[in-house]
Each structure stands twice: as C-alpha cells, then as structure tokens.
C-alpha cells in the first residue's frame, strides 16, 4: 500500500524533463510552421507583383498603336531567344518587382525578356507572337513568370 502511495505522489524529475522536451518540440514545430507560412505568403506576394509586371507589358503590347507606318519598339521583332526589356527605366536591364516602403530596399528584382516573332500564315498578314518572361530570384529560389499573346496590325 505504501509503495502504491509513493508511486502516485507527485511527478518525477525525469517526467518533468520529458514533458519539457515535448513542449519544446511543439514550440519549435509551431514556430517553424508560422515562419514557413510567412515565407510562403511573401513568396506569393512577390509572384503577384511579378505577374503584374508581365501583365502590364502584355497589355501595352496588345493595345499600343501598330500600323504599317508605325511599329512601336515593344513590338519590334527579336530573335527566338528574345532580348532584355527594361520597362521601368534605370537602363540597368533590371526590372524592380517589389520595393519596400523606404523606396530603396528592393525586395525582388529580375530580368524581363521580350520575344517577338512573326507567325507564318496563309494570308501573309503581319501576325506577331509576343512573349514576356520575367525571371527573378527570391529567397534563393529562381522563378519565371511568362505570358504570351498574339498581335496583328491595326490597319
């Protein structure tokens, strides 16, 4: 009877240590999960910003005036591998994707490539395949966002 009472009274030091270790594991796991969630959300936001960079160029290519008399620079044909297109100025061939609040800390930037090739067609019309690809590195991982459209002359 006394042995049973002793065994039920209080917790042993080893039990407390094991409990603390288990708690530490939970804490580390939960913190890691939140950190990963935070990083994924940040990555997703950068992806959206990168997509908007590509989208704005596709929109410009689709809507700018393109006639027999005038071919805008954005629709000038390129080689199959394209050429670097710096649409945000700076002449550094780098497009800023996300800039922080102080306007100096660039969170992500990348290289925007413009590829414009003529598509053969039975009518010999000027039909261009326009592709914009933005390649950037964020948190050590390289991603590319690419969009393609078709453009013909206005006249």
């Amino acid at each position: 009877m006394l042995r049973r009472l002793r065994s039920c009274a209080g917790i042993l030091l080893i039990e407390a240590v094991v409990a603390a270790a288990a708690l530490a594991l939970v804490i580390v796991g939960a913190s890691q999960a939140l950190l990963i969630a935070n990083r994924m959300a940040a990555t997703s936001r950068i992806l959206t910003a990168a997509r908007s960079v590509v989208q704005r160029n596709i929109d410009t290519a689709l809507t700018t005036t393109f006639t027999q008399a005038s071919t805008p620079a954005i629709l000038a044909t390129t080689g199959a591998n394209g050429s670097v297109w710096d649409d945000d100025g700076g002449a550094d061939n780098i497009v800023q994707i996300s800039v922080q609040d102080n306007n100096t800390a660039v969170v992500a930037s990348g290289v925007l490539t413009r590829t414009v090739v003529a598509l053969a067609n039975a009518d010999n019309a000027v039909v261009l395949q326009v592709t914009f690809s933005l390649t950037y590195t964020y948190r050590g991982r390289t991603d590319t966002v690419s969009m393609t459209t078709i453009r013909a002359r206005d006249d």
């Binding site: 009274a9 603390a20 700018t64």
Partner: protein, 304 residues
C-alpha cells in the same frame, strides 16, 4: 509508537524535498519563460502573417477589379479628383471611363437625311438572335454614334421598348437623349448608321480615417455631387487599405507609349490590421506594405 513511526515514514516518502521543489520551480520558470517567448513570437508571426496575406489579398482584388473593368473601357479614361472634377495634370485620385455594354444598334433614319442638330429622340434597333443580341438600353446608359465629323456621345434619360419584330428577330427601342444633339449626323437611306451602348463608371481613391478606400462607382453620369459621392449606396469598396500618405492617394496617371496613351496605376496598400502592434517589429513595413505599378489598358480608345 508503532503507528507514529509509520506516519512519519509515510510523510517522508510522499512529499518533496526543498531541493526537489527548487528544481521543479526552476524548470517551471524556464518553461514559463519559453512559453511566454513562444506566445509573443507566435503573436508577432500571426500578426505578420495576417498583414502579409491581407495586404496581398487586397492588392490582388484591386488589380483584378481595375484590370477587368478597364479592359471593358470603350474610351481613354478621364482623370478626376475626389470631388469628381477633371484633373488636368496627373496623377489623380480617380478616373472615369465608358464601360462597353454592346453594339450594334441600328439607328432609324427618320427623314432619309440622318439626325438633325437638336434631335432629342431616336429609334434604335438591335438583333435578338441568341448569338448576337446586345443588351437593352437603359436609363443612364449612353450611346456613341459614329460620325465622320467626330463621334457623337449622348446620355439616355428614357428608353421604351417597341413591338418586337418576330419575323426578323429584331427589337426596337425609342430612346430620349439627356441633351439635344449638338451637331447634325448625316447619312442617306442607302446607308446604315449604328450606335454603341456604353455606361460611365469610375474608380476613386478617397481618404477616410487613417486609410484610403478604393471605391467603384457603377453609375457616374451625371457626376454625383458631394453627397452622392459620399453615399455608400452609390459605390462598392474594393479595398479600404490603401495608403493615406502624401503622393500615395493619387495612383492614376496617363502615360504616352509611342503614339498611344495608356493609363498607369501605382497602388500603395498598407494593411492597418496590426500596424500599431507591428510598428518597429518589421523592417520597412515588409508585411503591411505592398506597392504595385501596372498599366490599365482600355479595350478601345482613341489612338492618339
């Protein structure tokens, strides 16, 4: 004596020594410190996560809505300020544009010579084919009539559907103009003159209190007065997390691209959910601030 000895023995075995108690207390303190640190860190991460996701989500909503609507635009948008007045020098807090509704609507030539200046009514006829039936004109819509001397745009104040022509599957509408035609539109009976149906909409960034709202007005003609602009029944809030800082409440401008003009937008989102708590807990407002520059091209606009 035997009984007392047994109880003493029992007490000595069932309790904890001072050393044990101190060790337990130390472990408890350590665990409490870790738990407190964990809770505060978790709270910070939770706040950062929500701010990041919220600011991102809002920015996506803004981009999706503005891009989608502007691509339905039938004209180059007009920049306006928060009172609805036209802004001559960009950037601006808002813009209005003609949203494309449908075409073609064949205009009846009443005299064989077209519509005279001063005309206030017209008959529009549209196809009712399931494959090509533009919507019925409605009060508040406007029609754009192509004209060699320059397109004529006029708002509708009344629209009455006529008798349906089941033989030709056509529906006529008698429409009344808000103002008389300022100039004559001439065409012969041998020609067909059509109109395009549009509806004026607007986006406006309005500072509220510590944040700015991006408001979408589905009816912006005539331009609402101050009370109308402030009436929440007249607009939909796309986001209420745009910045109120100087230079960040005027996102819209018009840029010349080659020989063309395109609306440029620079949206600054500042998530306000936990901005106070996260103050000085993040670098450069990494989680709460997001900025996106984009272009908002209209479906159709005068090439300039």
């Amino acid at each position: 004596m035997t009984k007392m000895k047994t109880l003493h023995h029992y007490r000595s075995q069932s309790g904890t020594t001072l050393a044990e108690t101190m060790v337990y207390a130390l472990i408890g303190i350590i665990i409490s410190c870790i738990a407190y640190t964990f809770l505060t860190s978790t709270t910070q991460l939770y706040a950062k996560n929500l701010s990041l996701v919220h600011s991102h989500s809002d920015m996506r909503s803004v981009l999706d809505r503005t891009l989608n609507n502007m691509q339905r635009g039938n004209s180059l948008p007009v920049l306006i300020d928060t009172s609805g007045a036209v802004v001559a020098t960009p950037p601006s807090a808002g813009l209005y544009y003609d949203s494309y509704r449908g075409d073609p609507y064949v205009i009846t030539n009443p005299s064989g010579n077209g519509l005279a200046a001063g005309t206030t009514t017209a008959i529009l006829t549209s196809s009712m084919s399931a494959l090509a039936s533009p919507p019925a004109p409605a009060v508040g819509d406007a029609i754009i009539i192509s004209n060699p001397g320059g397109d004529v745009r006029v708002r509708l104040t009344a629209c009455v559907a006529g008798t349906f022509d089941s033989t030709n599957n056509r529906q006529p509408y008698t429409v009344t103009f808000a103002t008389a035609l300022a100039s004559a539109i001439s065409w012969t009976s041998a020609e067909t003159r059509t109109a395009t149906l549009v509806h004026r909409e607007a986006f406006l960034v309005v500072p509220v209190s510590g944040y700015s709202e991006l408001r979408y007005f589905k009816d912006f003609e005539p331009i609402p007065n101050a009370a109308g602009l402030a009436n929440s029944a007249n607009y939909t809030v796309i986001t209420k997390q745009l910045s109120v800082l100087t230079g960040e409440m005027t996102p819209f401008s018009i840029a010349t691209v080659g020989t063309d003009k395109i609306v440029k937008a620079s949206f600054f989102a500042r998530c306000t959910d936990y901005s106070t708590y996260l103050n000085n807990r993040q670098a450069n407002e990494f989680n709460t601030f997001v900025r996106v520059n984009t272009s908002l091209s209209s479906r159709l606009r005068p090439q300039q």
